[in-house]
């Protein structure tokens, strides 16, 4: 992806650099905020940067002046946020240019936009959208990694093709350059993008399996939905108990009434007895007991009602979260 030193010159190089400095500046502000909020996690920023640094330092040469490699930026953005991801990308590219002659200072701006916006920002956006539509954490992370990787190379191709097609005496048009560049990227970058898809998803999965509290503390996931569910269940439990007791009393009353001798006042009848059964009898179809008479099974009937209530409560809670909590940009879902 790194566009090498010397490819972009003059005003385009200056514009890319100024825009990138602005983006990294915003990222630096976010980093300061992060360090103030979690001072004990400040060194984590450097270590996350080191992670991007290594991944994007494995160059596989492609067509004119560019290389292929895994990005790492989408994962950093998923874990720490898109702006911090962009700032770390900028620092990582600085180190690579200064100590490994990979990329360069004159193309630093273009590379920050490509890897920062294409990789970190778009990868993070894909992750968030996937979570909003209800996909699991692992699948969302995998999609984020894949989209971030693909868009990094899409942006790189667009940048390079626009620079080459506007150069002196170009042999091809913009689209032809784009075609050639993407064709050159495909054999190396296709498998790497698929690899990044699996790796991003699996890394997030393993981290969540081993230490979910880390992802919660970084606000990648939260226990909010779990708490809502728990509170709902705790509120639902006494109501269910009350309903069950009420039903028990009703059944006892009915049994008591049924034991009373005929001719005496039988009290209020249910709708089935008072209307449905009498209408059925008039129509010549006397009522009979159901094949599985669960009402007669006592507590089994109560248990089924309780289970149905629990399932309905879960469904309502889930949809409440999807419809309202998600729309309020809480960005806090559970796996």
């Amino acid at each position: 992806m790194h566009i090498s030193e010397g490819i972009i010159t003059g005003i385009p190089a200056a514009v890319f650099t100024v825009v990138s400095l602005g983006l990294v500046g915003v990222g630096a502000k976010e980093m300061t905020k992060f360090a103030k909020e979690f001072p004990e996690k400040k060194p984590l920023l450097g270590m996350a940067g080191a992670f991007i640094f290594f991944l994007s330092l494995i160059p596989i040469p492609a067509f004119t002046g560019t290389t292929s490699h895994p990005c790492g930026a989408p994962m950093a953005a998923i874990l720490l946020g898109p702006w911090i991801g962009i700032a770390l990308t900028g620092l990582s590219l600085f180190l690579q240019a200064a100590f490994f002659a990979h990329g360069g200072f004159s193309t630093w701006g273009a590379n920050v936009i490509i890897l920062g916006v294409g990789g970190a920002m778009c990868g993070w956006a894909a992750f968030k959208i996937s979570r909003k539509v209800g996909l699991s954490l692992v699948v969302s992370a995998a999609i984020g990694g894949f989209i971030g990787n693909i868009l990094t190379y899409t942006f790189a191709g667009l940048t390079l093709a626009s620079v080459l097609s506007t150069g002196p005496q170009p042999q091809y048009t913009f689209m032809q350059y784009l075609g050639v560049i993407y064709t050159a990227y495909l054999p190396t970058q296709g498998p790497i993008a698929i690899g990044e898809l699996f790796m991003t998803g699996l890394i997030i999965k393993y981290v969540y399996e081993q230490r979910p509290e880390i992802l919660e503390s970084l606000k990648v996931v939260t226990v909010k939905v779990s708490i809502i569910f728990l509170v709902g269940f705790l509120l639902f439990l006494p109501i269910q108990t009350a309903v069950a007791q009420n039903m028990d009393n009703t059944v006892n009353n009915q049994q008591h009434q049924a034991a009373e001798p005929e001719g005496e006042e039988t009290g209020m009848m249910g709708m089935d007895e008072a209307i449905n059964e009498s209408l059925a009898e008039k129509a010549g179809m006397p009522p009979r007991d159901p094949y599985i008479n669960i009402e007669a099974l006592g507590d089994v009937w109560n248990t089924i009602i309780l289970l149905a209530g629990g399932i309905c409560g879960f469904i309502i809670g889930r949809w409440w979260d999807l419809l309202f909590v998600g729309n309020q940009k809480c960005q806090k879902n559970s796996i």
């Binding site: 300061t32 060194p43 270590m47 290594f54 067509f63 004159s106 699996l202 981290v207």
Partner: protein, 228 residues
């Protein structure tokens, strides 16, 4: 890649840097070196005139001869962009121009493209020479101090310092775990390889997380400010 990221080599290189006789670029203040570097990049890339790039490259090479920086890192710096430069020159030679010089396997090589590719190679090596002169002759801590002097935000400089320090350490941990996973059959199939590397990545992230807190509290215990 493992050889490039060997921590011991980096430490040896830093020691070699401290022992190196002080001449040429070694004598300059890091702030001045950074200023010179950005001036060269501005003239080389901003103007993009081959003659100026050529003069700057010659000046850089002469300064190299005077400074005589450590050979290993210098060679690495000069070789690192070579493959990309070759591909760039080939790509430009067949992708630009109207005057064909010769044809190879049905592909025409153009004069203008060759000149343009040569210009790119010149600019790349001009920048790389000055980059090497700046960063090989300056200890990293001094570069960070110079960046602070240029009012680069503290958070970025601190993060840069941690990145540089821990990159090698993390990579060594990755290599150790990777060797262990390989010896236990963790790379017998492609899917197993992906799983193994992902597990190692997750482990490294967890270690990074714990270590970052330990570093913070260690700094704090030694008098570091809580919000610094």
């Amino acid at each position: 890649m493992s050889e490039e990221f060997n921590l011991n080599q980096v430490i040896a290189s830093e020691r070699e840097l401290e022992r190196a006789p002080k001449r040429g670029m070694f004598l300059l203040d890091p702030r001045l070196k950074l200023f010179l570097l950005f001036l060269v990049i501005f003239l080389n890339i901003g103007l993009a005139i081959n003659v100026i790039s050529g003069i700057l490259l010659c000046l850089g090479l002469l300064t190299f001869l005077w400074t005589r920086p450590p050979l290993g890192r210098t060679t690495f710096f000069l070789l690192a962009p070579l493959l990309t430069v070759i591909i760039t020159v080939i790509g430009f030679s067949i992708g630009f121009g109207v005057t064909p010089i010769f044809e190879l396997w049905g592909v025409s090589v153009y004069k203008e493209g060759l000149i343009q590719g040569g210009g790119v190679a010149l600019r790349v090596y001009c920048d790389v020479t000055w980059l090497a002169l700046t960063f090989i002759t300056t200890p990293f801590a001094q570069i960070l101090s110079a960046l602070r002097w240029y009012k680069v935000p503290d958070i970025l400089v601190d993060t840069l310092g941690i990145m540089y320090r821990y990159s090698f350490l993390l990579y060594e941990e990755f290599l150790r775990m990777h060797v262990a996973a390989t010896t236990r059959g963790g790379r017998t199939t492609t899917w197993k390889s992906i799983q193994s590397v992902s597990r190692i990545g997750a482990q490294i992230f967890l270690r990074v997380f714990d270590r970052s807190e330990r570093i913070y509290w260690a700094q704090f215990a030694r008098g570091g400010q809580k919000d610094a």
